[in-house]
């Protein structure tokens, strides 16, 4: 919205400045003519034209100044809203990345713990007592399988963290879109080598995987979240 307003003002200002340029252009050849030919009749005509144009200039200058000021105000407003939105999203992005980092760390520790316990079970299997007692060794093998299976369960962190990372990617794509809007506001200069991605490209990036993640995906409080699901299923909500 602020960008559209700024674009309109930019367009209006450009029109005013072009008009101003045309008026000044009318004056220039006449002034030149005054100094060179200086015939009485042309001098009189030139002065008459100047008299016609000069009174218009202050109004034109004022109009151009007003439009430039309004455009600057609009750019400032746009910049502030972009700054506010961007900093909020950056904070959220940081929060999500922290969550990914801690989830990965916790899963790695859980896996290490399960592997430590599994190694201890293998050691137990090699004791003379276990070798002599088939029932005892069978029980240890069952425990060992449980531990190894727990390792596989901990791998669920990969699904959760990948959803968190996809959420971060979508936030970054949104910020990229805002920066593109700012870039487009000022237009590309001839010779620009770094072309801003088009809205379509940014939109496509945002859409990519938009249905593949839950922005609230987390490893935390699984038991209480499951309890909520159980209560709603038990209540017979929907077709269940």
């Amino acid at each position: 919205m602020a960008n559209e307003r700024a674009s309109d003002l930019l367009y209006e200002t450009a029109s005013t400045l072009r008009l101003l340029d045309a008026e000044l252009g009318e004056l220039a050849p006449r002034r030149s003519a005054e100094s060179t030919s200086a015939s009485p009749s042309s001098l009189a005509a030139s002065l008459a034209a100047s008299d016609r144009v000069l009174p218009l200039l202050p109004a034109l200058f004022l109009k151009a100044m007003g439009e430039v000021q309004a455009m600057l105000a609009s750019i400032r407003t746009g910049r502030e809203s972009i700054r506010a939105a961007t900093s909020e999203r950056l904070a959220h992005t940081n929060e999500k990345l922290d969550e990914v980092s801690s989830a990965t760390g916790k899963a790695a520790l859980d896996i290490m713990d399960a592997l430590d316990r599994a190694i201890a079970k293998v050691d137990d299997l090699e004791t003379e007592e276990a070798l002599a007692d088939r029932a005892k060794s069978a029980a240890i093998r069952t425990d060992l399988r449980d531990e190894l299976f727990a390792v596989m369960g901990h791998m669920q962190f990969q699904d959760i963290t990948s959803q968190q990372i996809m959420h971060v990617q979508s936030l970054l794509a949104e910020m990229e879109g805002r920066l593109t809007e700012i870039s487009n506001l000022f237009g590309n200069q001839p010779g620009d080598t770094n072309e801003a991605p088009t809205d379509a490209v940014v939109g496509a990036r945002k859409q990519k995987g938009a249905h593949s993640f839950d922005p609230n995906a987390t490893l935390a409080d699984a038991a209480s979240r499951q309890a909520l699901a159980d209560s709603l299923v038990g209540r017979g909500t929907g077709n269940a």
Partner: protein, 123 residues
């Protein structure tokens, strides 16, 4: 008993399939999204386990489409997903899901939910 396991994460499909094997269900087929799941579903499938967030067709869209099919009207569907806010759970149940597991889950929870739907089949 043949299971259809639907999840866009290959890791999760493997975890679910291995969990099923561990609790005694060794026959399963896999699909990476709702579109593939609809193509793979036939009357030999006795139980569906599906994720929610997937590309092309989400889990809820898949279940809604499944419930429109003659052969998919009564098959038990268990949703296994990271989504766990109240509105989401209600949406899934209204789409035709019979039971709901929040990720991360344990094989024990998976067994409980499957048992509840096998013992008391979906209407």
């Amino acid at each position: 008993m043949k299971f259809l396991v639907v999840d866009d994460s290959a890791t999760m499909r493997r975890i679910v399939v291995n969990s099923l094997q561990r609790i005694g269900f060794t026959n399963s087929v896999e699909a990476a999204d709702g579109v593939e799941a609809l193509a793979r579903f036939d009357s030999s499938i006795a139980f569906v386990i599906t994720d929610w967030n997937m590309p092309n067709m989400s889990g809820t869209e898949f279940v809604q489409a499944l419930r429109q099919r003659e052969d998919g009207r009564t098959v038990p569907v268990l949703m296994v997903t990271a989504r766990s806010v109240r509105e989401d759970i209600i949406t899934a149940l209204e789409a035709g899901v019979n039971n709901y597991i929040v990720k991360p889950f344990t094989p024990q929870v998976l067994k409980e939910k499957i048992d509840s739907l096998i013992v008391a089949p979906a209407a």
